[in-house]
């Protein structure tokens, strides 16, 4: 009885994973398919769609823009995350739950609200939309993720290590730089990689806040209207998928390494 129930559950889980991974598996299949129409049956193998990507100038400029936005976002949100996570894990202060709650709100807020509200403020202040307005929005939604990752890292930190550093004559700054920071470094790297990935793939906010210069997802959105461009968009999506996967696996690796280094039992994975 128990065995049969378990096997049903295992079967369901397998089917669920197929459902979950269906789009991810189809993407590379169509990227290498030798047909202008993105549909079955498949026609044959080709690398033409990847070759086409090399010729599109607008794609290259939006890739450059996306990289600028993603690097800026990951640096700023991780810096904010380090400070806030340190505060959350180490200190007690008034209205802590309220303050932390406000920082975490973008995680559950519809992204369209973030986009709309920043758009209203930027236009009312008479400023122009640029790549930096996208960075403003992305930092807002990335900081909670950075905070989650880094709070775990700082909570796992053994306080007695810092205290010994004090006893041996270190000041606060040198203790942080020489003891605490190296210990949470895997968490910091993991946070940088995660926020970079989120920013690179984010569309809803970027579409609202993009000026004349577009990011990669906004460029893709524009191309989805043209049926002839779809196969090369599949190729582009495949490359982005591969990049995201590599970054994520690195992020997960650093996170677990950090947990092991701090002596905690690894659990929880990405979250």
């Amino acid at each position: 009885m128990t065995f049969r129930k378990l096997s049903w559950l295992a079967f369901y889980t397998a089917m669920f994973l197929v459902f979950l991974y269906a789009p991810v598996i189809l993407l590379p299949i169509f990227a290498f398919n030798d047909s202008k129409i993105v549909a079955f049956p498949l026609r044959g193998f080709t690398l033409d769609w990847f070759r086409l990507l090399l010729e599109q100038d607008q794609l290259h400029s939006s890739l450059r823009n996306s990289l600028i936005v993603a690097v800026a976002t990951s640096l700023i949100s991780t810096t904010l995350g380090i400070c806030a996570a340190r505060a959350a894990a180490r200190y007690r202060f008034p209205v802590k739950r309220g303050i932390m709650g406000l920082i975490m709100v973008p995680l559950v807020l519809p992204e369209i609200i973030v986009g709309v509200s920043l758009l209203v403020v930027i236009l009312q202040l008479g400023m122009d939309l640029s790549l930096w307005s996208i960075v403003l929005g992305h930092v807002l939604i990335c900081t909670p993720f950075s905070l989650i990752i880094l709070t775990t890292a700082f909570s796992n930190l053994d306080r007695s290590l810092e205290e010994s550093a004090f006893d041996l004559g270190g000041d606060r700054w040198s203790t942080f730089r020489l003891i605490s920071l190296p210990l949470v470094m895997p968490g910091v790297i993991s946070s940088l990689l995660m926020t970079f990935t989120i920013s690179l793939d984010e569309f809803i906010i970027a579409f609202f806040l993009a000026g004349t210069e577009t990011t990669l997802p906004v460029y893709i959105w524009g191309q989805l209207r043209f049926p002839g461009k779809l196969p090369s968009i599949m190729a582009l999506g495949t490359i982005m998928l591969a990049v995201s996967l590599v970054l994520l696996i690195f992020a997960a690796y650093f996170r677990r390494r950090g947990e092991r280094r701090a002596g905690a039992v690894a659990a929880g994975g990405v979250f």
């Binding site: 009885m1 128990t2 129930k5 378990l6 559950l9 295992a10 369901y12 459902f19 991974y21 789009p23 991810v24 993105v38 549909a39 904010l80 400070c83 806030a84 340190r86 505060a87 200190y91 007690r92 202060f93 008034p94 802590k96 932390m100 920082i103 709100v105 609200i113 509200s117 920043l118 209203v120 403020v121 236009l123 009312q124 929005g137 807002l140 900081t143 041996l168 606060r172 700054w173 942080f176 020489l178 793939d201 984010e202 569309f203 809803i204 609202f208 997802p217 893709i220 959105w221 968009i233 599949m234 982005m240 995201s244 996967l245 994520l248 659990a267 929880g268 994975g269 990405v270 979250f271």
Partner: protein, 317 residues
């Protein structure tokens, strides 16, 4: 300490660091005692001020904005309820709003029903050392390009797509199934796929917290597996289910990409109208009123849901 290799470098850079290190780290504000409170507040303030300036203030601005009027290219800044009157009385907005709420509610139900067995399987039937890998496996698709994922659902559900192609190839159906593309069903399927990892995680965390000895006790007291599940596991997992419901329900209302790509003319939602008002229709105050109305409705439903759940738990003792 002086013999430390970093000491020399530290001496040299100490002066230039002094200005910014206060901000960077927890030296506290000069003049204030280096107390717990001051250190904590100084450290949390950059992220807090950022959220305040970039989120709280802008949302407040949108609320004010929604009481203004767009007159061609200019804004009339006299206070008026006209936008709200229009947003709540025009049939088109009411239809879109009700459809959005129905879609969000359906997506929430579907994701929780899909997610619970997975969270249960990983929590109870996977070896502890394997759990992080499983969680990673479940979250990976979430990190891939959102636009591409939605577009690929269009390919999967399309008339000569994967589902119809395979079913016709196998001879199960003769005509392509039309109920799964360019309508509300397609929107629900696609959104459920996008949000299911977010539903699994809180349920998984709640299941992990359940003391396994409670289950053994239930078994020793003569409960069968089904009774044990209904009377011990499910009630204890309820907080996770509630969290999952909120995490899925609230953000789903703001999606305009999925309805646009797979929804067809009858699958458009309120977020599409908000986007339209802000962009092409150039009536941002009306868009703001619609956005605030949608947020209010979602907030009221969410609070009601949490309240009913609390009362339900209290009634059970």
């Amino acid at each position: 300490m002086r013999s430390h290799p970093g000491a020399c470098w530290r001496q040299k850079t100490l002066k230039s660091w002094r200005g910014c290190r206060i901000w960077l780290l927890e030296l506290g504000i000069p003049g204030l005692a280096r107390s717990e409170t001051a250190n904590g507040l100084a450290l949390v303030s950059p992220a807090f001020l950022y959220a305040l300036l970039m989120l709280a203030v802008p949302i407040f601005a949108v609320i004010i904005f929604s009481f203004w009027t767009q007159v061609y290219l200019d804004l009339d800044k006299t206070f008026t309820f006209d936008n709200y009157r229009e947003a709540w009385s025009q049939p088109i907005y009411r239809v879109l709003m009700l459809r959005s709420i129905a879609v969000s509610a359906a997506v929430t139900c579907v994701t929780i029903v899909l997610a619970f067995p997975i969270a249960f399987y990983v929590s109870f039937h996977v070896r502890p050392s394997r759990k992080p890998i499983w969680i990673l496996l479940i979250t990976i698709p979430f990190w891939t390009s959102y636009l591409m994922r939605i577009f690929l659902w269009k390919v999967i559900l399309g008339f000569n797509g994967v589902v119809n192609g395979s079913l016709m190839g196998l001879g199960i159906i003769e005509e392509p199934l039309s109920f799964i593309l360019y309508n509300v069903n397609a929107v629900v399927i696609t959104l459920s796929h996008a949000w299911v990892p977010f539903a699994i995680l809180p349920i998984f965390v709640a299941l992990e917290k359940i003391d396994r000895s409670l289950l053994e006790a239930a078994q020793d007291l003569g409960e069968g597996p089904a009774q044990r599940f209904l009377r011990v596991t499910l009630p204890l997992a309820l907080p996770g289910i509630v969290a999952a419901a909120l995490i899925v329900f609230i953000p789903t209302i703001g999606d305009y990409v999925t309805p646009r790509l797979v929804g067809g003319p009858n699958g458009l939602l309120i977020a599409n109208m908000i986007e339209l008002q802000f962009k092409k229709a150039n009536n941002a105050p009306l868009g703001a009123a619609l956005a605030i109305s949608a947020m209010l409705i979602v907030a009221v439903i969410s609070l009601l849901f949490v309240y009913l759940n609390r009362r339900h738990l209290k009634d059970r003792g």
